[in-house]
């Protein structure tokens, strides 16, 4: 018996060690693999840490990893350039943390990044984690640039250290609400959100815009960002007979949701925001997303000023882009550009430069307004065709411009094969 017990405990301990060891080591190895730039031996080298926070476990892990890899690629690129700041050669290191998309964990991770003395933070992925974490960074005087948190509140808190590189939900929600009425022909609209800062915020903005465009909101239902069963709320919505169902939330819920809509025989059109609008969504929906809509903050990759090279390199290294990787890349690059401009990696010294920066990013020209919001935010409406996201319309600064689908527009051509490649890669996995 005693022998058995000690054997059992040893096995348990061994298994635990293996599990945790494997889970944690990955980022370190990759960070270590960062090629040390070769340069003149005379210049002294300093290490500058840039933090990244996003969920790398849980239902949004694919999105968190996507952001992290975007930032990692930026760090690798910066190191390859061999940047010299204030006479010292700078080696950037990514300090990647997992916030589990949980506001509580978000603040813990933020404090850890502050304790690690990072020079700046790229993140967080979610609005729900970014907003509480932003206070911690602001108090510590560390600039944060979120590549994907779109809730308007984030930049309205009066914090000087908080920036974001994509359009916020006021703009996105108003586009979703307007498109739901004009393009999708919705008179009666049902709205579901996942009760997170992002989902609820986006749904509220959509509701306002849809009402302003003359539609009635016939149902407002709620779920959570961990749910998989939506039949009860969809059944309730079915009774109200809407033309359009809008969802404010993430793709892990948006996929099963459209599938269950179809099974319940709901004929309404579906539209959702950037959280749903990933390459993964049509797959998660098991074919049911066909002909449905979603929006992304930002331009489609082929319309971005300079993303072609990024897309190729990222896809080769980490697999298909989910949604925000290019923004994470830009966020990190903008931060580094501000350090160069200020000739200092000290947060208090490069922050003023960051606030007035004008940097040609791969997603757009990055300039911040007084709140720290991007000045050049765009929203793109996508439709799922043959399991791929096809851009339908682009909204920049409140003006909508249709992307001609029929015309053999040369601009469209590169997009299609790119999406094809992404699909193929997915299948290989």
């Amino acid at each position: 018996m005693t022998l058995n017990r000690s054997l059992g405990l040893t096995l348990v301990a061994a298994a635990l060690l293996t599990a945790y060891g494997c889970g944690k080591e990955e980022p370190k190895q990759q960070a270590a693999a960062t090629p040390a730039p070769t340069a003149a031996p005379a210049t002294p080298e300093i290490v500058v840490k840039i933090g990244h926070a996003g969920p790398t476990t849980g239902p949004q892990a694919h999105l968190g990893k996507d952001n992290e890899n975007g930032a990692r690629l930026a760090i690798d690129d910066a190191n390859a350039q061999g940047i010299v700041i204030d006479g010292k050669k700078v080696k950037f290191e990514l300090d990647a943390q997992d916030d589990q998309a949980d506001p509580k964990q978000g603040t813990i991770v933020a404090q850890k990044l502050v304790d690690d003395k990072v020079a700046g933070v790229v993140g967080h992925l979610n609005s729900g984690t970014s907003i509480p974490a932003s206070k911690i960074y602001n108090d510590a005087g560390i600039p944060m640039i979120s590549p994907s948190a779109t809730n308007p509140k984030l930049t309205l808190q009066g914090y000087k250290d908080v920036f974001r590189v994509m359009a916020n939900d006021v703009q996105q929600g108003s586009v979703i609400g307007k498109e739901a009425v004009t393009s999708l022909g919705g008179k009666k609209i049902a709205i579901i959100d996942d009760k997170t800062a992002y989902g609820a915020g986006l749904a509220d903005e959509t509701e306002k815009a849809a009402k302003a465009a003359g539609a009635t909101v016939v149902a407002r239902e709620y779920t959570t960002d961990k749910a998989t069963d939506f039949k009860a709320i969809l059944t309730k919505i079915k009774a109200k007979n809407p033309d359009v169902i809008m969802y404010g939330g993430m793709d892990a819920q948006g996929g099963p949701m459209v599938k269950q809509m179809k099974e319940l025989g709901i004929k309404a059109k579906f539209i959702a925001g950037d959280g749903v609008c990933s390459a993964e969504w049509p797959k998660l929906a098991g074919g049911a997303a066909e002909g449905q809509y979603c929006t992304q903050a930002g331009l489609p990759p082929d319309k971005m000023p300079d993303a072609k090279d990024f897309v190729t390199r990222f896809t080769a290294k980490y697999g298909p882009i989910q949604v925000y990787a290019p923004y994470a890349y830009d966020a990190a690059m903008t931060m580094i550009a501000a350090m160069k401009q200020a000739n200092s990696t000290d947060p208090s010294k490069y922050l003023p430069e960051l606030a007035k920066i004008s940097y040609n990013g791969i997603t757009a020209k990055i300039e911040f307004d007084d709140h720290g919001d991007t000045k050049n935010g765009a929203i793109t409406l996508y439709k799922v065709e043959d399991g791929k996201l096809v851009p339908m319309a682009i909204n920049v600064g409140g003006k909508t411009e249709k992307v001609a689908a029929d015309a053999p527009a040369p601009a469209m051509a590169p997009a299609a094969p790119k999406m094809d490649e992404m699909k193929k890669d997915d299948k290989k996995q």
Partner: protein, 360 residues
């Protein structure tokens, strides 16, 4: 104010649906209620199947095997891998055969995991204080989750659309063939388990061990075999439940077993843990409670229906078309645990009673 009163008295949807046959009293549509019952029944059958695994183990050794939900997850993941593998090889097989193949691989693997788990983690602690095996069970659950994270990755995995469920119309509600299969198969398996426990020698041995392991041992029953059998049978049911959940929702991920396991555990407690019939009843009831709860809580807690409202609330009601709810449908997952608390307070032995209560 008059407009407000009118707006509340006649919600817009009441006017818009002229089909009076579909309308029950108080604006409750019968077809919608039926639909919610169908949703709940499907979900409930899966809960029941998983709850059986909890209840069998508890009935015999008094252990709450918290790792059981993870066995469901592994069952789903293994069959997913087999199915995607077979499709990748372009084997010309009908979809149903591919799914069965997945199941036939998943069942033995789940059984082996449950057997090993019992032998390595629980058997050495059988005579230890009750808290020790309970904590070990939580540890096993974490281990299995992390193993799955390493093997299958952190992303949501999609189940290939082999079968496109066809919805059928049942008195205005929609029911898919997949739902019928899930409920039917769950019923068959539960019937089979009851037969095994009540009519076979193994079942008799299980019942004897549950009553008194020492005496059963003295009567020549190998308790270790019986306990292993309880784990292994539960795991086989869990594998089937895992495949069901995955085909139903079309997705699987490494921690899907956690919430499912907790809910099945709640179902087992609701019916009376240790009691087979109780687990089935509890599972189906819990599924229905969740569906009805999520479907109607918004209307039930709609404060616009109350006669005395402050002016600001009345204004809110008008601007929200007479819908201001205290609780929304995001409380769907809370119902299960609310039920658990109620049962533990008012009827700790569950609806049908704890069959082995004399043991405690």
């Amino acid at each position: 104010m008059i407009a407000a009163a009118a707006g509340i008295a006649a919600p817009p949807q009441a006017v818009e649906n002229p089909d009076w046959r579909l309308r029950g009293g108080r604006g409750t549509r019968v077809d919608i209620l039926l639909q919610q019952l169908i949703n709940g029944l499907t979900l409930g059958s899966v809960y029941a199947l998983v709850a059986l695994g909890y209840t069998m183990v508890y009935g015999i050794i008094g252990l709450i095997n918290f790792a059981h939900g993870e066995v469901v997850m592994i069952g789903a993941m293994v069959s997913l891998s087999v199915v995607t593998g077979l499709i990748g090889m372009h084997v010309p097989l009908p979809p149903i055969v591919i799914i069965l193949a997945g199941l036939l691989v998943a069942i033995p693997i789940c059984m082996a995991i449950a057997y090993t788990m019992e032998k390595v983690a629980y058997r050495p602690l059988r005579k230890a204080p009750r808290l020790a095996p309970l904590i070990t069970a939580i540890g096993m659950s974490i281990i299995l989750q992390n193993v799955a994270l390493i093997v299958w990755g952190r992303n949501y995995r999609t189940f290939p659309t082999l079968i496109q469920p066809t919805p059928y119309n049942l008195f205005g509600a929609s029911i898919t063939d997949l739902q019928v299969v899930i409920v039917g198969l769950a019923g068959l398996l539960m019937g089979g388990l009851v037969f095994v426990v009540q009519r076979t020698r193994l079942g008799m041995a299980m019942r004897a061990t549950a009553q008194n392991p020492q005496v059963a041992g003295l009567m020549g029953i190998d308790i270790n075999v019986v306990i292993s059998a309880a784990f292994v049978i539960g795991a086989a049911l869990a594998a089937v439940a895992g495949l069901m959940v995955m085909t139903y929702y079309g997705i699987a991920h490494y921690y899907m077993g956690f919430l499912l396991g907790l809910k099945a555990f709640t179902a087992a407690v609701l019916g009376g843990i240790g009691n087979l019939a109780g687990a089935m009843l509890g599972g189906i009831l819990l599924g229905i409670i969740e569906a009805l709860g999520a479907g109607y809580i918004g209307d039930v807690t709609n404060i616009c229906g109350f006669p005395f409202l402050s002016d600001s609330l009345q204004q809110q009601c008008v601007s929200n078309d007479g819908q201001v709810s205290l609780f929304g449908s995001n409380y769907q997952d809370v119902f299960a645990f609310f039920v658990l608390i109620l049962v533990l307070i008012f009827k700790p032995s569950g609806l049908l009673g704890e069959r082995v209560s004399e043991r405690a």
